[in-house]
């Protein structure tokens, strides 16, 4: 079905090692035995074992109301959806075996997999699917997925294993979104009360259909999952997956090195502490995110597309990828990340780094450099703005400094201001109270960016508006034919070069530091990788 490879990105290790590291390795070998795999009937050839992954806080074990990344990771294991992403991030069958879409694109009918049971033994049916999407669409449930499925008009149960989705308009990202966060919930346990109030379910006793099920929850400390003997797919190889709450990133690295964690994601700044460590491998995966400087188009400075393009030209983005990300990122053409291989317009050239052209373009837009080296407009006002970013992330803080220095060379004065993320979002970004902000979007694995860049959408925080882009974005999400869709998004990316909605800095790669005992990890971001957890195994130490 899908090839699960890894290590194609493994970094070289330095050859020389001090003796004490060898000593430490021997101790790992000696100490690692406390969680030795227990042989299970029917799995005698498998390695078994326990996989330990950190979270930063207790997750909410319900994919419809879960608000944070940690919860999403656990829920990917517990709650499969109708489809799931393969290694190219294309949807493949999961709880649904097959599907057909009507010619007008308004009805999609799914044939569900027979014989699937919930972790408590109750059969899974079409009624569960309908229940889940009724909840997703109901704001009172506490749903956080409603905007993903705003195009869904309703769900009909045709028979116990057939379900039809009615759409308000053709919606190409529909299947991808089904495999993104929309895990299916058990109707028999959750009906009758808002999902957010079902605290016993979503904190202690969640019931899904996934390859592992919850055995034990220890608040603030850990969640232990054990293999689900009734799982409908490939039998899981691991005995257990333990999610440990380890809030501090440095402590996560230390625990990985001490052999107490097996799979963590790190920032480029942490690379030095895992590279060359025996028993630890580093791999990198492009993820569906774009990091950008959002220029508030409602502010006079940034209204002109030429000014935004000139500022993009003034920032040495290659140098940021090399210096700040240590190469763990990809240069950007437009806002569609390279992880979306089918849609990224790699034949287009990115906006080049060219401060001289940037100066010329700014001069044409009325910003001239005076004898003091400061850019001023006709009224004599200097080109000055505030660049906001969230506090505490070294990658973003260093990136902001690099941007500030590049712009200063041009005579543009960008003052940096860091804020707590929640305050940044709530007090500045959402009310539109900012000049410029360094932030990022994590998007579903689909090129549809209607919500972010179409005129007047809730997530279009920079207030960008381009009528041609509007029609391309509307066309792109309504077009199901792949070549036509690709052409639409290619045109969108070409347009973004001339009228940049935001200055895309880079597409990051997720850096995973992994115990070399872990096998079967696909080359996907950790969240999507966890939807393939039945293939993971830990080699015996």
């Amino acid at each position: 079905m899908i090839a699960l490879r890894r290590r194609s990105f493994v970094l070289p290790r330095p050859g020389a090692r001090a003796l004490w590291i060898v000593g430490a390795l021997l101790v790992v070998a000696a100490c690692g035995g406390d969680q030795r795999p227990q042989p299970q009937a029917g799995n005698s050839t498998d390695a078994g074992g326990t996989l330990r992954i950190p979270l930063i806080n207790d997750p909410i074990l319900d994919p419809v109301v879960a608000p944070d990344i940690g919860s999403v990771m656990v829920n990917k294991v517990l709650f499969p959806g109708l489809v799931r992403p393969d290694e190219a991030l294309r949807p493949i069958p999961d709880l649904a075996l097959s599907w057909t879409t009507s010619d007008d694109g308004l009805r999609t009918t799914f044939k569900l997999r027979p014989g699937v049971t919930w972790h408590d033994g109750t059969p899974f049916t079409a009624a569960d699917v309908k229940f889940t999407f009724d909840q997703i669409l109901d704001l009172k449930s506490g749903s956080r997925l409603r905007s993903d499925f705003a195009a869904v008009d309703g769900v009909d149960v045709d028979d116990s294993l057939t379900v039809t989705f009615r759409l308000k308009a053709p919606f190409a990202p529909f299947l991808t979104l089904l495999g993104y966060n929309a895990g299916i919930l058990p109707k028999h346990l959750l009906q009758g009360a808002p999902l957010a109030d079902a605290t016993d379910f979503n904190r202690k006793h969640p019931v899904g259909t996934g390859p592992f099920m919850v055995q034990d929850v220890s608040p603030g400390a850990s969640i232990t999952l054990v293999r689900n003997p009734r799982y409908y797919g490939t039998p899981p190889r691991l005995d257990r997956i333990v999610f440990k709450v380890v809030p501090d990133v440095n402590a996560q690295v230390a625990q990985l090195r001490a052999g107490e964690l097996d799979l963590i994601t790190i920032e480029p700044a942490n690379l030095a502490s895992v590279q060359g460590v025996p028993g630890v491998e580093v791999q990198q995966v492009p993820v569906v995110q774009h990091y950008y400087v959002g220029l508030n188009v409602a502010r006079a400075h940034f209204r002109s597309p030429a000014v935004r393009r000139a500022l993009a030209m003034a920032i040495n983005r290659e140098a940021i990828i090399k210096g700040v990300l240590r190469g763990y990122g990809d240069p950007a053409v437009g806002t569609i990340p390279v992880a979306l291989r089918d849609f990224v317009a790699d034949s287009l050239l990115p906006i080049p780094y060219n401060p001289d052209s940037a100066l010329a373009m700014l001069a044409a837009a009325g910003w001239r450099r005076g004898a003091d080296g400061v850019l001023r407009n006709a009224a004599g006002a200097p080109f000055r703005f505030e660049l906001l970013l969230d506090k505490g992330n070294p990658t973003r803080e260093q990136t902001a400094l690099a941007i500030q220095q590049d712009l200063r060379k041009l005579g543009v004065d960008a003052s940096l201001r860091t804020m707590e993320f929640a305050a940044l979002v709530r007090d500045r970004i959402l009310p539109g109270n900012f000049d410029a902000v360094l932030t990022w979007w994590t998007t579903p694995p689909d090129p549809d960016q209607y919500a972010f860049y179409h005129t007047g959408q809730d997530n279009n925080n920079v207030h960008w508006s381009n009528p041609v882009a509007d029609s391309l974005l509307a066309l792109g999400r309504a077009t199901r034919d792949l070549p036509r869709r690709q052409a639409t998004y290619r045109a969108f990316q070409a347009l973004e070069l001339e009228d940049p909605p935001v200055i895309v800095l880079f597409f990051p790669r997720e850096i995973q530091a992994v115990s070399s005992r872990l096998q079967g990890l696909p080359l996907l971001g950790i969240r999507d990788a966890l939807r393939h957890s039945e293939r993971f195994a830990m080699r015996a130490p």
Binding site: D34, S147, G220, A251, A254, A422
Partner: protein, 316 residues
């Protein structure tokens, strides 16, 4: 005695009410808002629905009156983050914090007081100078750094102790396993407090050793051990009890960094999490509990004076 306790209870009630009001004002004045609402991807409709569910869409005075009313009925509301009741959320974490803080206090007392007594009798001796240097280091080194270094040395390089958590997950939960997990966080949490206590006790003891009654006791032929402990140290410890009393709440509330570095599921870390996420009910609950702890500790300090110094009387 009963009147004394009643008066202190009355004071405590007023102080708690004041703390509640001030905390309520401060947490709501802090920039940002509940983390649940800080997801930039939420649509306006989704955000409104969440705000309504949390009750933060009402004007502040209304929220305050509702919160006080619920408090009067003993209801601290539900945590925004955990969606479980504030009381049970705290109750799950409190025992871990008490264990860690208690162990740290015990270590502090067992180390600081005998060493201080020794140093006070032999000022400028090798132990005095060594203890002074170590104490200065322990007070100066930030806890997060000390914690990470302790993990690197004892868990990563030497592999003697676990790097974090309260027990091995999936392990046997034995006492030995739990003790092994307790050692590093206890030592790290105890470091600064021990140093402070040591310095304070040493100077207090030095003053006592120089006082005439010590010379008198020695002249009467009292044994050196009795001079040291029954005469000098007993008097030296009266002000030290105050320092210990002040450390109690700091140990409980201030264990946050140690708990974070050692992945220790305690209340201090919960408090930081709650503050960062603007989980108003949880912040309020923890603040009230810690303030209650401070009041209780100062009450216990007063009682301890009675025991240590017979000259102090309740009616005085």
């Amino acid at each position: 005695m009963a009147a004394f306790v009643l008066r202190r209870l009355g004071h405590a009630f007023l102080v708690l009410l004041l703390v509640a009001t001030v905390t309520f004002t401060i947490v709501h004045a802090a920039p940002g808002g509940p983390a649940l609402l800080a997801d930039p991807k939420l649509s306006i409709a989704e955000r409104d629905a969440i705000a309504q569910r949390l009750g933060v869409d009402r004007p502040l005075p209304v929220q305050y009156v509702r919160w006080l009313g619920a408090l009067a009925r003993g209801d601290l509301g539900n945590s925004f983050l955990y969606e479980t009741s504030t009381v049970s959320t705290i109750a799950q974490r409190l025992p871990n914090t008490l264990l860690l803080a208690g162990a740290a206090l015990l270590v502090s007392l067992l180390v600081a007081i005998p060493v201080a007594a020794w140093c006070a009798e032999r000022p400028g001796g090798w132990l005095d100078r060594l203890a002074g240097a170590v104490a200065l280091g322990a007070i100066s080194i930030p806890v997060f750094w000390l914690g990470i270094v302790a993990i690197l040395v004892f868990a990563v390089y030497l592999r003697l102790l676990p790097a974090g958590g309260v027990e091995t997950i999936g392990g046997d939960g034995s006492l030995r396993d739990r003790l092994a997990h307790l050692i590093l966080p206890t030592l790290v949490l105890a470091a600064a407090g021990t140093a402070e206590l040591l310095r304070y006790t040493r100077s207090s003891a030095r003053r006592q050793f120089a006082r005439p009654f010590v010379r008198t006791a020695r002249a009467k032929g009292v044994g050196e051990r009795a001079v040291r402990w029954r005469h000098a140290m007993r008097n030296a410890l009266v002000p030290v009890v105050t320092v210990i009393g002040l450390q109690l709440p700091r140990l409980v509330g201030g264990a946050a960094i140690t708990e974070t570095v050692f992945a220790w599921p305690g209340m201090g870390r919960l408090g930081i999490e709650a503050a960062l996420a603007r989980d108003y009910p949880l912040v309020m609950g923890i603040t009230l509990l810690v303030s209650g702890g401070v009041l209780l500790a100062s009450f216990l300090v007063d009682l301890a004076y009675l025991v240590l110094d017979p000259r102090i009387r309740l009616d005085a």
